[in-house]
Amino acid sequence: MDTKHEDQNAVKLAAFDALVSEYEGVLLRYVTRIVRSHDAAQDIVQDAFIKLFQGWEGELRPSSEISSWLYRVAHNCAVDYLRKETRRTLLHNRHAEESDDFIHPNRGEAFRLNESAENAAAALHKLSLRDQQLIILKIYEEKSYKEISEITGLSVGNVGYILHYALKKLAEELKKSSAI
């Protein structure tokens, strides 16, 4: 009985290991673009996989359902991280105003880019998180409206509308930063 259980364990863990290999790259790419920090992206993707192992009740095999689930959970973790970061920055800034010997908080390894890539990333980050999410999924991850709809919970029709206006806003931001 124990040997049988051990075998099942080994099979499940091997399947999970294969899933990590399958999705770690795309998730790291996606999350890094949202949080703009390599260290934070690594932590977030790690958490998303642990949540998958704890919460997924179906088969641990690459599928569009698992892929959408992982994107969704990683996105939510990224949003939580950004909220915490905003609060942390506010606190540090307040502290900076009060003390002279203030040292900036270490946010880990930054997401370094050259100037034009930095302009593009900065313009993207001026948009709402929902707009950023749709643009990243469409342009960088090359997802279809249907896949984006499964990840975000928006209807397929809404994805097209929101994406249209998000890209229009992005073009305006890029113009302002004279990247165009």
Partner: protein, 107 residues
């Protein structure tokens, strides 16, 4: 009266084409031939949508060229990967599962 009607028709045409314009600019291959024809025809007749489509195409081009200049690790660090697998092993152990079942029953 005629003018109003004309405007309404134009607005409706924009509304139909609008959600397809982003796909037309980013990945036209995703659209069906009929959808591609619809957007193309609309852009030929609507100056506003045509201008927006051009702006969107610029934005897409800039983001894509920025992506080509950006390197993002494609793997989790070895220690993080080990941590995930170790934790999952613990979570999946019979002891831990028994404990979780008891907790669920209590809840």
């Amino acid at each position: 009266m005629k003018k109003c009607r004309k405007r309404k028709i134009l607005k409706q045409a924009c509304r139909t084409a609008l959600p397809l314009i982003a796909d037309y600019a980013c990945s036209p291959g995703r659209l069906s031939p009929a959808q591609r024809r619809l957007v193309k025809r609309h852009l030929e007749t609507c100056r506003n949508c045509s201008k927006t489509a051009e702006e969107i195409q610029y934005a897409v081009r800039i983001l894509r060229s920025a992506a080509a200049m950006t390197s993002i690790p494609t793997r989790l660090t070895a220690d993080r990967r080990q941590h995930i697998l170790k934790l999952c092993e613990i979570l999946h152990s019979p002891d831990s599962q028994r404990r979780m079942k008891t907790c669920r029953k209590k809840a």
